[in-house]
């Protein structure tokens, strides 16, 4: 029983991480049809900020991490994606790969290719003991922070003028522009939010792994992309749900696979995703805007 509880907690923690990454990707895809693989590098630059800033106290570290990720998100939008606005999705996708490789190679040039170890927080590294169950504080924080961000983003999208504009832009960008919605502002805001999500994701990820490297964003963003597809491309709820489902698949495999097969965890996980997509190719939640667009 205690073991099962432990697995459930782990699954929700994994899921929270993926949901956080997936949301950043789904937000941009919904609005401009761009699958931003350079989202991983927003996580990476945030993570390097943690290493480079030293130990000025966690509030400042988080502020700097998020700030740098947001700045890079806005910069990549302005420099790489804005000139391509209205381009075909494959063009945008390739551009995002280019940005991704560029930033990775810049990181190698400046910081080298060897992973750097860092200790984010000793407090986070400890565990809460509840009876016989030991719950890492980081897990609790990850789940709680993700929940707060999901609610905050939901409120932002539902209650604010900019939120309504973003939802409208995700449905039909042409029409919102003739209503006077400024395309540049909406897209920049979406990138800023994706940068914020990446920055917080970076902090939680580094707290977990204690390691920073130039390609650390690649796997998270790949998993997040799979979670987005699983949840239903273009749906924010789908991205979050996909993140948690993927987290559950991952944790189940981690717990149940015999040790001789443990190395193939990812292969099994992606296999499970393929089976799910065969059964439901449109993803778990179908975004209405995507339906009408096709």
């Amino acid at each position: 029983m205690a073991l099962l509880l432990q697995h459930v907690i782990d699954a929700i923690t994994y899921g929270s991480q993926y949901a956080l990454y997936a949301l950043g990707i789904a937000l941009i895809f919904g609005i401009m049809g761009l699958i931003n693989f350079a989202h991983g590098e927003l996580i990476m630059v945030g993570a390097f900020t943690i290493v480079l800033i030293g130990h000025p106290g966690w509030p400042l570290v988080i502020l700097a991490t998020v700030g740098i990720s947001v700045v890079f998100a806005l910069a990549m939008q302005r420099v790489a994606f804005r000139p391509l606005r209205g381009a075909q999705p494959p063009t945008l996708l390739i551009a995002s790969f280019a940005v991704s490789y560029l930033l990775q190679n810049l990181a190698i040039l400046i910081e080298g290719s060897a992973p750097r170890g860092t200790n984010v927080s000793t407090w986070l590294a400890a565990s809460f003991e509840v009876g016989s169950v030991s719950i890492p504080r980081l897990d609790v924080v990850t789940v709680a922070v993700t929940a707060v961000l999901l609610v905050a983003l939901g409120l932002f999208l539902q209650r604010t003028r900019m939120g309504v504009q973003m939802r409208a832009a995700a449905e039909d960008f042409r029409i919102v522009r003739i209503l006077g919605v400024r395309a540049n502002t909406v897209i920049a805001t979406a990138f800023a939010i994706s940068g914020l999500l990446a920055g917080i994701g970076a902090y939680l990820l580094v707290a977990q792994t204690g390691e920073v490297s130039y390609d650390m964003g690649s796997n998270p963003v790949l998993y997040a992309f799979v979670a987005t597809v699983l949840g239903g491309m273009g749906s924010l709820r789908g991205a979050v749900l996909g993140g948690y489902v993927f987290g559950a698949i991952f944790e189940t495999l981690q717990a149940e696979l015999p040790s001789s097969l443990a190395g193939y965890r990812d292969a099994f996980a992606f296999g499970a995703v393929i089976v799910m997509l065969l059964a439901r190719p449109q993803g778990l939640i179908v975004a209405r805007s995507v339906v009408t667009r096709v």
Partner: protein, 234 residues
């Protein structure tokens, strides 16, 4: 107010407009009629910055609109009710209307305008909090017009507002346009319901195959012997 000279628009290599010229004076209601594919929608799209002209000029109150983004064109005092309505179906009626006030700086006046618009289209008040995608075609058209009015346009462009509407709803639409005209809103109307459009308008242009095939006042157009044939393009 609006002056278009020699406007050419191509879709890829296919020319859609071969250099049309037209003008709309302040306070006028002008109809743009013609068969399918004549270039009516393209003309409105070009005015609103949604189609890029290959040549010619579009001048609104002395300022060129060519190369201006749709969001800036709206801020110059134009509004477009696009063909097929294009309400935002995943949003509520209230949110659609809120988007109509995007460019307004005078929030208090915008709120008052919203009340006025809801009084004019009671059906929108009835469904205020529901998803706009659930509205009927006629209700969606009313929403699209209401939404455009909330930017307080001085020149209102309408593309086929009667398309697919029941006669009763059509009356509501044209009654609204009539009221707007009395309030001093200038109107450029693209319409399939030709007789109705010409009857409503002060002047009309007949477009055919991307060219202006004829133009005149309401009486002149109605007297044109070949009016039906020029419209049908036979």
């Amino acid at each position: 107010m609006l002056r278009i000279e020699g406007l050419r628009v191509n879709y890829g290599r296919v020319p859609a407009l071969h250099g049309i010229s037209l003008h709309v004076e302040a306070g006028e209601a002008v109809a743009l009629i013609g068969p399918n594919g004549a270039g009516k929608t393209t003309t409105l799209s070009a005015i609103f910055g949604l189609a890029v002209p290959a040549g010619g000029s579009i001048v609104f109150e002395g300022e060129s609109l060519v190369g201006t983004s749709p969001e800036r064109i709206l801020r110059k005092g134009l509004a477009l009710v696009p063909e097929g309505r294009h309400i935002l179906g995943t949003l509520t009626v209230a949110e659609n209307l809120l988007l109509g006030t995007t460019a307004r700086r005078d929030r208090a006046a915008a709120a008052a305008d919203l009340q006025q618009v809801l009084a004019r289209f009671p059906v929108l008040e009835a469904y205020y909090r529901t998803s706009a995608g659930n509205l009927s075609g006629g209700e969606q058209q009313q929403l699209a017009i209401a939404r455009a009015l909330l930017s307080r346009p001085r020149l209102l462009l309408l593309d086929e507002p009667s398309l697919g509407l029941a006669p009763v709803v059509l009356d509501i639409v044209f009654d609204t346009l009539e009221e707007l005209r009395k309030e001093g809103v200038t109107i450029l109307l693209v319409e399939q319901a030709v007789a109705r459009a010409v009857e409503f308008a002060d002047r009309a242009y007949i477009l055919r195959s991307g060219r202006v095939a004829g133009s005149g006042t309401r009486d002149e157009i109605q007297r044109m012997e070949d009016f039906e044939t020029s419209y049908l393009g036979v």
